[in-house]
Point group: D2
Chain length 166, copies 4
């Protein structure tokens, strides 16, 4: 079963999602009085996933800042399947789903060290200009990113924002 598919409906013929995996280890203060990771901390696990994704695909937070493209989270959703305990290692598999719109649709799967699924979820980010107005058109650098994605060139190495400057 593909959780990533279940959160977003993708048009026929869209490129397959891009994926990256981050690793983490539960911190002491992330565990609550019940002895399990407090549900609110999963937002930081998802963020860890987005950062690993950005590292791999040339879409880091720094790149968004450099391009003056704020991308605020407008929706956060998490389904909890199984608790994580103190000191457990976990992975965050993060997938970016194709969209034609000026938005970023990420889904997440968190697994414990035994590969059990502990949580799944998704976030939606809208792109804004520097005044906070929602973009109707995709900024050039992200349009370039999407062309690269659709062209299926990832096997030749990651896209870099700078390539588009030439």
């Amino acid at each position: 079963m593909d959780f990533a598919q279940s959160y977003f409906i993708t048009e026929e013929g869209a490129p397959t999602p891009l994926r990256a995996v981050a690793e983490g280890r539960v911190r002491f203060q992330e565990v609550d009085a019940m002895g399990i990771v407090w549900h609110g901390h999963y937002a930081s696990f998802f963020e860890k996933g987005r950062i690993a994704f950005g590292d791999r695909y040339g879409m880091s937070y720094q790149e968004f800042r450099r391009q003056r493209t704020p991308a605020p989270v407008v929706r956060f959703h998490c389904d909890y399947k199984r608790p994580l305990l103190f000191d457990e290692n976990y992975t965050v598999e993060t997938s970016l789903h194709w969209s034609d719109a000026a938005r970023l649709d990420f889904s997440y799967v968190i697994r414990n060290s035994g590969s059990d699924i502990c949580a799944t979820g998704y976030t939606v980010q809208l792109l804004t200009d520097k005044n906070g107005e929602i973009c109707l058109l995709l900024p050039d650098w992200l349009a370039s990113f999407r062309r690269y994605w659709r062209s299926g060139c990832w096997q030749q190495g990651p896209w870099r924002a700078v390539e588009d400057k030439a």
Copy 2:
């Protein structure tokens, strides 16, 4: 428009949701590098809302513990409408929606001091026994709570778990 209604579908004839309002003020460390409350902190705002709800309706976390009824959050969802800034006052309106099942369906509306809606969301909690097995039947004390709710007696003052002990 009633956000609370839009997250949960309630059967015909179900009692109206129970509501409580909590107040808060944005802490310095809740604001991120963009100058707005980091989206992950809304989980603690919703929790503030559930605690105020429990205070008002006799369903505090302590009561759940005393009754040995863990109620883990199995789903968290938040829609962000407008940012909250450092030091802003906000309110969390928390509503419990009727369900016949052994679960708790809460929705939330967060407003700033100008009464603008900043975020809405919902959580689902399942009830478990002390071994972590999901309850199929509602524990007696919560069944009593629901009878009180359905009877429309809230205007006579809050239900107390202890009433049912007699």
Copy 3:
């Protein structure tokens, strides 16, 4: 015993410390797996204290920002006496201690609802200019604040930064 005095040595004849009290209530996610507030969260309790202090004495974070006077914390110290539990009410008594230097010396006493001392501590903040260079001289607006303090005028109402603009 005056904890505030024990953290800072004040010169003979210095004005008495200025004090303010903030109130808080322990949040669920502030409690760790041992069932007590995790020690690292006291930094946010102290900050709650500084904010209440700023509100009362006209030295809010917003005022520091408006005056372009960053005041980073360069030292944080906390002594833990007695644990705080989930849902406990607590107070933070915050005192600003006189100093002739371009720094802010705050001490803190956290008490539970039974007035037991749960923690004491202090912070030191240095004032910097907008480039992050440490100020050797006090900015005018804070010099005005200190003159007001030394003059013993607080009983006539709080000092306001704006007074100095005339």
Copy 4:
């Protein structure tokens, strides 16, 4: 200059401190509105350091729990030298200092990826029995740990609590 030495005064002839190094990377939500890591988050960096220390020397949190030896932090101190920024890599060098008493004295040095010292600090933990009473005598398993430390056997591999069971 050895910061570790400056926080604790060690008796003549005491064994040299034991050290371990942890690595971390600044998370987005650890950065405040000033664009630097909020000072309160260093408590979690120190904790990361203690956990790496426990891993290396056989004194994990789990071991303390298994041995029913709570070790609450009774003092926390941090000196901030230089800010950490979003996404920076950092190291936490953690040292346990010799003491004859029933306490744990740790010091910490946090460095950025350029090896600049960003913060130093220390914590003191007291050992308690399961009722929360402070131990006057060291529990057997920790006495065994200290004998191993004094004997200078670390170069032969880490001490294990289980060794003492024989």
